[in-house]
């Protein structure tokens, strides 16, 4: 067991970092196996290639520069993704609102007759009041108003049942 303990310390002893204690030194003097192993470790260390000369400050600067550069890229990309995602969501919601609003504006009386709040297929719109919907629409540019929301089917693509359901939602 003490052979293993000595073995574990041999690299550090050979480097001069630690020394054997009395018990270890006694064992070392009597154990040929340990002395052979130590001779090997010492020989490896003494014949090891010298440490290459490195410009650690240059390496550190290069590493920092890469980190800085990539940090910025990640930050910009993630901000852009968030902003774009928000815009896409807003555009989709506004597109549906536009459709619903255009149906309503054909009949001003019907608009007035719509109950205060009914659940629609667009949760984002459920939380908005009529005036808020108008603000959302007004905030969109002409270009944005012409966007067709990707996942939302056009009215012409809806089945009769889907159209009925939509109308029910809109008219309450």
């Amino acid at each position: 067991m003490i052979c293993e303990a000595l073995s574990d310390q041999m690299p550090a002893v050979a480097r001069g970092d630690v020394v054997w204690d009395a018990e270890e030194a006694l064992h070392f003097a009597q154990c040929a196996e340990c002395r052979d192993e130590y001779a090997l470790v010492a020989a490896v260390l003494s014949s090891a290639r010298p440490a290459p000369v490195l410009d650690l400050d240059r390496i550190a600067a290069a590493v920092s520069a890469v980190g800085r550069e990539e940090g910025k890229v990640v930050a910009i990309a993630s901000r852009r993704r968030t902003w774009t995602r928000g815009l896409v969501g807003l555009a989709a919601a506004a597109g549906i609102a536009l459709v619903a609003y255009s149906i309503r504006t054909d009949d001003p009386v019907a608009v007035a007759a719509v109950p205060a709040r009914t659940t629609t297929a667009i949760p984002e719109l459920d939380a908005l009041l009529e005036d808020e919907l108008k603000i959302v629409l007004a905030s969109l540019t002409e270009e944005q108003k012409t966007l067709t929301p990707g996942p939302i089917p056009r009215l012409g693509e809806l089945t009769e049942a889907e159209l009925d359901a939509l109308l029910d939602d809109v008219e309450g």
């Binding site: 090997l40 014949s47 290459p52 390496i59 590493v63 980190g67």
Partner: protein
């Protein structure tokens, strides 16, 4: 009297600081581990002209994938793991060239030509023996003897267990002792 070393921040603290944008933390980590990585890469067979680039690449890869570092393993072991992978990539690219022969100026100078010759001969035999070891045995042996890594750190570096690293080390020692004697 408190030693200077005790006042230095440990690796996990420096890594955490780096993650929060402290560039000086990265500088400290490079200064702390760069030389050892250079020795490891050099003794592992990297061309001397490539060592600095490989050390730099090791740190860049490490910092890019800090999220993958499990803090239960040492940061130093993890750096050596990345360096080891770089060495393997290099060997694959160069189709198996593994060790760099010792050059005269690499050997310890001696005033006694006879003992110098014996030392040269022993060193050559040892280096040849190390080169002939199976890869894991060689890497464990070099990390243990030349770099002074603990078995737990070697396990992290080589993606094995401390127990397996210990076994590899003793296999390597047995083979090399036979060779030297």
């Amino acid at each position: 009297m408190t030693s200077l070393a005790a006042d230095l921040p440990n690796d996990p603290d420096l890594v955490a600081a780096w993650r929060q944008g402290d560039e000086f933390a990265a500088t400290q980590l490079v200064r702390r581990h760069g030389a050892a990585l250079g020795r490891y890469l050099s003794s592992g067979g990297a061309d001397s002209g490539d060592v600095e680039d490989l050390v730099q690449e090791t740190f860049i890869r490490a910092f890019r994938s800090l999220h993958g570092w499990r803090q239960d393993g040492s940061f130093r072991g993890w750096l050596f793991r990345i360096a080891s992978n770089l060495l393997k990539d290099g060997f694959r690219a160069r189709r198996g060239r593994q060790m760099v022969a010792l050059e005269d100026h690499d050997l310890v100078a001696s005033a006694d030509p006879a003992s110098q010759f014996a030392a040269d001969e022993t060193a050559e035999r040892i280096q040849a023996g190390i080169a002939a070891l199976p890869r894991l045995q060689r890497e464990v042996f070099l990390l243990r003897v030349e770099q002074g890594l603990e078995y737990a750190e070697i396990a992290t570096a080589l993606d094995t267990t401390p127990g397996a690293a210990r076994v590899h080390y003793h296999h390597a020692v047995r083979r090399l002792k036979e060779l030297v004697q």
